[in-house]
């Protein structure tokens, strides 16, 4: 099975950075999505964490995550920019080509859209010399940007080549998004597809969405929405998306299992995805390695 464009997100895995890197590699994955806290919390310190990542042999898909960034004023904005710059430096240190930004949950004035786009454009510019692309995703409990359609509108408003969309299948399903809306999206502007299913049959309130999203996701093919997930995959395939697929599976239960068992779920899930979209099993075109001084 070709796992080369599947990325394992460390959020599903128990243990520390060293154990996660080792287990993901042993499971046959070549890509890993890291969280800034994986690096910051490493007992050996940040420099040792960077060394571990850069010598792991794994390609870093990207780094999670910046939250509540856009739309703030004055010193709050300055503070968020400083945090973003520190995170961009972390990306550069580990050769992460993508930094994911979740839509803000901060209450903002009604006319904040222009300021939000301006702030995100600034982030896109900050990321260019670092060799990092910004991926923006809507969270359903966001204050302004809540849906994939909202996030795509923001990507178009920002209008910067270094600013793209991240699609989270869980949020599409939780929001009951019409898949026809995906047809509007330029596939070249999708930085990443994050996949997960969930075990609840229905999610009603924003709070339910958030709780399910960050505690009760399951790997694709193992939830109760397989047919919807397959439809999302096929639709994105149809519009021409050929990029990476990340398994973003927040689930407290997995943190009580050995890493190898969780990764066996991930391998089965990759097989399930490949079965839905056969192209995924074909060898990939080789591309030049990015290397930034």
């Amino acid at each position: 099975m070709n796992l080369s464009n599947f990325s394992m997100d460390t959020v599903a895995l128990p243990g520390d950075l060293a154990g996660k890197l080792d287990a993901v590699k042993k499971a046959g994955f070549s890509q890993i999505m890291l969280w800034a806290k994986d690096l910051a919390n490493y007992p050996g310190g940040f420099a040792a964490a960077v060394e571990l990542v850069t010598t792991s042999g794994l390609k870093v898909t990207g780094l999670q995550v910046i939250r509540d960034y856009e739309g703030l004023e004055g010193s709050q904005h300055d503070c968020k920019v400083d945090l973003a710059k520190a995170t961009l430096k972390m990306c550069r240190a580990i050769n992460a080509p993508l930094l994911i930004v979740c839509s803000t949950t901060v209450d903002l004035p009604a006319d904040s859209a222009t300021k939000m786009a301006q702030d995100l454009r600034k982030l896109a510019n900050l990321a260019v010399p670092q060799g990092v692309r910004i991926g923006y995703k809507a969270v359903p409990w966001g204050s302004v940007t809540r849906s994939n359609e909202d996030a795509w509108e923001m990507v178009m408003a920002v209008d910067h080549a270094n600013f793209s969309l991240v699609i989270d299948s869980f949020h599409l399903m939780a929001n009951q998004t019409e898949l026809d809306s995906l047809e509007e999206i330029d596939p070249q502007k999708i930085a990443l597809l994050q996949l997960a299913d969930f075990s609840a049959t229905e999610i009603r309130t924003p709070r339910d969405k958030r709780d399910t999203s960050i505690h009760m996701r399951v790997f694709p093919g193992e939830g109760v929405h397989s047919s919807e997930l397959a439809a999302i995959l096929r639709r994105l395939e149809r519009i021409g998306y050929r990029g990476d697929i990340g398994f973003l599976v927040f689930n407290d239960d997995y943190h009580q299992l050995p890493q190898e068992d969780v990764l066996e779920h991930a391998r089965r899930s990759a097989k399930w995805v490949t079965d839905q979209v056969l192209r995924r099993s074909l060898p990939l075109r080789m591309t030049a390695k990015r290397s930034v001084a």
């Binding site: 710059k85 454009r121 600034k122 982030l123 896109a124 510019n125 900050l126 260019v128 010399p129 060799g131 692309r133 910067h160 080549a161 270094n162 080789m286 591309t287 030049a288 390695k289 990015r290 290397s291 930034v292 001084a293």
Partner: protein
Amino acid sequence: MTENNSDVLSRSDNPLGLEGVEFVEYATAQPEGLGKTLELMGFAYIARHRSRRVFLYRQGTMTIVVNADHEMLNGTDLQGDSVTLSGIAFRVADASSAYRHMVDLGAWPIPTRAGAMELNIPGVHGVGDSVIYLVDRHRDFSIFDVDFVFDTQVSSQPPALAGMHFFGLVQYVGAGRMEEWIDFYDQLLGFTPLPQGESFGILTRGSLLKSPCNQFYLQLFGPPEDVSYDIEWDESLARLGIGTPDVHAAVAQLQARGVTFEEGGLIKVTDKGALTRMFPGKVHFELVASRIGAAS
């Protein structure tokens, strides 16, 4: 800021009031070697910094800063005779306003390098380890008057060979990063891409961006698409492009000084341009047929 400058700054297509290039900076631990190269290329040594290992070379309208300052070198991995293109200083209407504008739009400020009583030149990070400086003191007096001691034995305004002038910089960009850099230079500096098919010089691959003052170009190019996947391709400034109204005259004068040019395959001296062979430190220069800035 003068009234004239204010008018320039307010133009939406030239948000910083760009008015050409004040200097280009190289960094090296062995400034003597680079100095010899620059002298072969027609530049004359004219001044050195009062307290740092920083030297000025000039010909015509072009000023080159050779930075061998120990403090600066400590922050780089430059060793031996290696040389890097480390910065470019744009003339702007108001350096302070231009700096704030760029930082507001997402440029990374650089820490000030000025010492006591030294002139602080605002700057932001460019590609790789390079710096984009912003200079507004280029009319009534020069930024160099403050910190540099000029050699009284030589002219501080040596003439240019064959009308040579700054034309542009060539930059490597990572695979798939062309559009990102185009937006970066467009939004922060107001550079705009030339239409497809419009090109200068003999090395025309990639994208060519024109400054809003029409006096300077940036050429961006990425790794060839057909190379093996493990090629190393660091994003950095690659070389300086020097314009001349008569490429053959410039080549003849430079050859007479000992400069050699690439003469094989697609890269050879033509009416459009020429490429010097590599000098020590892996430095080379590109000549480009151009009248831009020749009269300034």
